[in-house]
Structure formats: C-alpha cells, structure tokens
Symmetry: C2
Subunit: 369 residues, 2 copies
C-alpha cells in the first residue's frame, strides 16, 4: 500500500453496494465517488472553485495528454499537477493507454510497451508500463493507473487473451517501477466481454498488491446487458478491502446499477461533454436545451435544483447562450450537469448510510432509473 | 431626465477629471467607470458572480445583436435583459448602429432609418431611431443609446456632415419616442475628425434634454493624436451636469488621458477580446502568454495582483490552458484583464477623491502610462 493512501469500507449494504472512505495526502472523500474529467488539466469551462462548489471531491486527468502538452517536466517545474490545475483535492490520472490507442497515429503495441506518434505534434514516442508509473509519479497525482492494453470490441478471443497477458505483465512491471510511495497505484482488469478472460485477468492482477483495482475496456459501445454481465463477474473477483473502479461509466442508471454491484469509483465524460452539446441532465430525464420549446421557458433547467446555473438562469436564457455559442453557455451547462451527477452520488452515499440504498438511489435518479 | 436615473459630480479635479456618481433603479456606481462588454448578454466566459468579483458595476450589451438573437420578445418573455443575463446591476445597451453598419449585409442608410439584412439569418430589417429606443426600453435596460449614423474614417467631409445632420434628427426622434421613464437615454455626438462638425453635432445633440451625452466614431483606427484632439474639443461642448461617455475607448493610457479630459464612462473590447487571444494586461505592460518564455514560469500573470487567476494559476499553467484551447484559459485571462481594468478605474477614482489624480492615476497605469 502506498503511504498516505487508505481505503476503508464504512458500511456494506445487502445490495452489494459499499459506503467507503478514501484518504489521500490531498484530502479524503467518500465512495461511491464520481470523478469529473479534466483531461488536459481543467474540467472544460469550470474554475477549481466552481468544481468544489458543485461537490467534486476528486478529479481525473489524463497522463498521456499531459505528456503531450505541456509535458511532464513542465508540470514539475510549475509545482506538479495540483499546482497546474489550481486543484487542492485528490487527483487520479489515467495512464492514457486507452487514449493513446484511440488517438495516436501508427500505434504499435509490443511486449516492451506502446510505440506511437503523438496526436499533437507527430513525434515518435514509446510508453512502457514503467514509464507510465514514472510519469504519473512525476505529475504528483494521488492515484495512478497501470498501463493496460485496450482492444476494440469485436476483437477475436485469442487477441484479447494476449492483451490480458500483456496487461498482467505490464501491471507487475509498473508495480515494480514505483519509487514514490505517496502515489497510490491501481491495477486494471481487461478481458473484453469474455467472462473466462475477465476471470483470468482479475486473478492475475489481484495477485499483485495494488492499492485499488479497476475494470477497463467496458462501456465502449457494447450492449448494456453485456457490460452488466461482465462487470458483475469481474467485481466478484476483486478484493473487498480495496477500492473498485469501473472506468468510463456512465449514465445515472449505470451508476445506480454498478454502485449496487459494489463498485466504488467512476468517471465519465457524459455530464461534461453532453453539456457542451446542450444536453442537460434533470430528474425528469434529458433536456435538449436547443429545442425551440425552451426559447421562452422562464423555468430553470431543473426545478428545485440548487446549482448556480438553476439559481440564476432560465432555460430560455441558457438556450440563448448555447445557440449564440457563448462560452458561458457551455460552462453553465457543465456546472449544472456535474451538480446533478455529484448530487446523485451524495444521495447514493446518504442512502447507503441510512440503509435505504436501492430505493432512495433510484428515486434520486428520477427518470434515469 | 428619466425617473430613477441621477448623475452627480462629486468632485471636480483641476485636471478636468470628475469624480461622479450615477444612480439607476438597478443600483448606483461611481464614475469614471469602465463597462465590460457583454454583446450578446454575457461577458464571454464569465459568470455574473465572477463579473461582480472583478469589480464590474455596470455592463454593456448590444441591442442590435440581441434583436437578432434571441429577439426582443423572447427577452421580454424571460423577464427582461437583467434576468436573461443573471445580472442585477445597471446595464447600458448600445443601440447597435455601429455594429449594424459594420456587420450586416446590404446596409442602406436613409433618413427614415437603417435598412439592412441580418448578419445572423439574412432577414431584411429596418431600424429607425424610434425603434432603437423602443427596443432598448423593451429590453428593460438602465441606459439606452440613441441611434446614430457612423461613417468610416476617411469619409469625405460632405458625407460626414450629412451623417451629423441625420444623427441629430434621429436623436430628436428617439427622444420623442420614449415611453418608459425608467430607461435613461443618452444622445451621441458624431462628426468624424472634423472639429467644426463635432462642434456642430455637439450643439445639436446637447440642445436636446438627454440624460447623458456620448461621443461616438472615435478610436476606430485614426491616429491617437487625432482621437485626443477631437475628444478634447468635443468634451468642452458637453454639459458638465450630465455624464459624458467616450464610446469604444480604450487602452489604459487612453483611459487615463480621457478621464483627465472629463469623460466619465468608457467601454472597450480590449481587455476581454485580447484575453481570448492570450494577451494579458499587467502593470509592466502586455504579457503574451503564448510566448515560450512563460512555459515554466511559476509566477502569476501579474505579481501582487489579487484576482482569482493570479491567486491560483501560474503563467505556465495559464499558457498551457490557452495553448490547449481549454475554455478555462480564456475565462481566466478575461477575469484577470477585467480585474486589471476595473482596478485601474478604482485607482483613478481614489486619486480623484484624494486629489492626487494625474500622478496616482499614471502610477496605476504602470508601463501603460
């Protein structure tokens, strides 16, 4: 276990859900937790203060993106990623394996690591599992992720099996490369939609002493029933005493479902990316603010919502700002959506605390349940 | 005079500058005042709360733009422009004559008004001086501007003279069209760089009982010496008991100079537009944040600055956000620049209050003086 990192299960719910608590050197937070996505070091359009005010307690950045720009040495010269972001709370970085394999050109994955050309400047690079750990340690983050190999959905079983082997070998190499005890390191389970391979991957990765365990390669376009099936099989193979992180998930309904399965941590671009496209989350479902019916609607995005956006702006006003492509429109929509997501997580945790989880959790999801 | 609008000269400085105070139904503010530009109803990237925090006391929006979108009836249905913007302080709107003549297609100016095709949807429109007043009254703003005819610099004297006549006639027609006593109305002096025409325009417009008087058509590309010469001649023709507004001005040096001449109100896109291009205002002059020298500079944009941006972000961090085109970079730069401008105005007013204006004012401008 890393120094300064501590996970405690506060309460186990009969549903399988857990109320937990994670301590880091940059503060503690309760789980289940949702991490807003700050790929390049900012949650697009929001100041750190706004992030705090919507209830964010931990944010997620992306090591691959930060290596491309501004570069690790620059981040270090500026005092580390917390200083760069102006964020004093915990930060988790994804190693960026997924982004690298989807964004970079001429990617060639070998046992040694990932050879690639940068999507920003075309420079050739090699990311080894050891580098992934070194880079994230250098960024000064609280939680780092192992480098894993992600394969597209529809990949043949044999090829997935090789990625599982490689991900396991990389996990061990990354763990062995640690030098900074303040940085917690999570291992990642892969295996596509193959239950056997997921089981094998979980066995391999959990045999290594990581601070937490993540499930990657889900929610990448497969049918929701497959996601749920594989997530359920996998979570049963993860140790109860460590945090379980389901990467890239999801909708409010997904969060309810996977919290009930016993997952503790989540991240997703849905609330932030959709906000920038004018899609708002409300208890009554999605609200597409560009719709003409909202042009003169004086009600807030969600009635009863206490976020800054809903306190000050009507649907009509927000629609105007979004249609006129004013930056403020995207920022206000992002603020509301994150408030919605983080309120949902607070409701889940309150329900877990008082033993009313599935029902109160579903109630909080509203039309999304 | 309109109901609820009141201007008082608190102190006249030997320099010619005045410390004043304007009351409106949405609050009062001191002059000299700088109005951040919120063309479409938002200062790009900033929430109303951030605007308040940088010290904005009155903001400027643009009636022509708001007529194009979201439309006056929509603004009314949403509770007026203050509600649309989420801004509780005073609002001044420009009639948009200048924007109309520079943005719209197929503009044809006649005595009746301005025939145009919208730059947004191509629809034909006619803006008469009466309409300009009616529209701004309907928006519910605190200070409306008369419709004026702006001519490009380099226009022959005869053509400028016709614009002066038309602007005077339109001023009278707009004044006669008032129906909402809560909306103050300012007249506008035109006349290009011709001192005789400026004098004539000022005589005509000040013969009408406006709540304040503006000088338009300056700072549109002419040499600074010409701006100063014409501004000086014109200000001497404006009544001392009414606020004097120099439209579209300017740099910190311009503000110092024109405050000293006796102008009370200013607006300019420089601090906000330049921020979005990565140009920061500091006491030491301009700072181009994209410059490579700032990549690892851990200092704030301006040392000693107490704005949110300088309190939390290094030059290197801001450079990264701007280069990565993160919305937050533009917002943080805007926040700092407006803080710089509004601090400057506070310094000017403090200097006028204590009788140290030109020297303390110049000091506040730093390298810009």
């Amino acid at each position: 276990m890393s120094a300064g990192f501590r996970f405690e299960v506060v309460r186990e719910d009969p549903s399988g859900a857990r109320l937990g608590r994670i301590e880091t050197l940059h503060g503690s937070f309760e789980t289940p937790a949702f991490m807003p996505v700050a790929t390049l070091g900012s949650v697009k359009g929001l100041t750190p203060r706004q992030l705090e005010e919507v209830g964010a307690e931990i944010v997620l950045a992306n090591a691959y993106h930060l290596v491309q720009r501004p570069g690790v040495e620059t981040v270090q010269a500026l005092g580390g990623l917390h200083a760069l972001m102006g964020w004093r709370g915990p930060i988790l970085t994804d190693s960026g394996g997924y982004q690298l394999m989807s964004l970079a050109d001429l990617v060639r994955v070998e046992d040694e690591g990932v050879h690639y050309r940068s999507h920003v400047d075309g420079r050739a690079g090699l990311l080894r599992p050891e580098d992934a750990v070194t880079v994230q340690e250098a960024l000064g983050v609280d939680i780092a992720m192992s480098l894993d190999e992600c394969v597209p959905s529809g990949t043949p079983r044999e090829r997935i099996a090789r990625a599982v082997d490689r991900t396991g070998a990389w996990a061990a190499r990354g763990l062995a490369a640690r030098t900074r005890p303040e940085t917690a390191l999570f291992g990642i389970v892969q295996g596509g939609l193959d239950v056997g391979l997921r089981t094998e991957s979980a066995a391999g990765v959990t045999a290594l002493d990581f601070d937490g365990y993540a499930v990657g390669g889900l929610s990448v376009g497969e049918p929701p029933a497959d996601t749920a099936r594989v997530a359920a099989v996998t979570v049963a193979r993860l140790p109860r005493a460590r945090p379980r992180y389901l990467m890239g998930v999801g909708t409010p309904r997904d969060l309810l479902r996977f919290v009930a399965m016993g997952y503790d941590m989540f991240d997703c671009v849905l609330p932030t990316r959709n906000a920038r496209n004018g899609m708002l989350f409300t208890r009554d479902g999605k609200l597409v603010i560009r719709n003409a019916r909202y042009a003169r609607d004086p009600r807030p995005v969600e009635e009863g919502c206490v976020c800054y956006t809903c306190g000050l702006f009507s649907r009509g006003a927000l629609r105007h700002l979004v249609l006129a492509r004013e930056m403020l429109g995207a920022a206000l929509a992002t603020l509301h959506n994150l408030h919605f997501y983080l309120r949902l997580m607070r409701e889940f945790r309150a329900a877990l605390r008082e033993g009313t989880f599935p029902s109160r959790g579903a109630l909080a999801c509203g039309a999304w349940a």
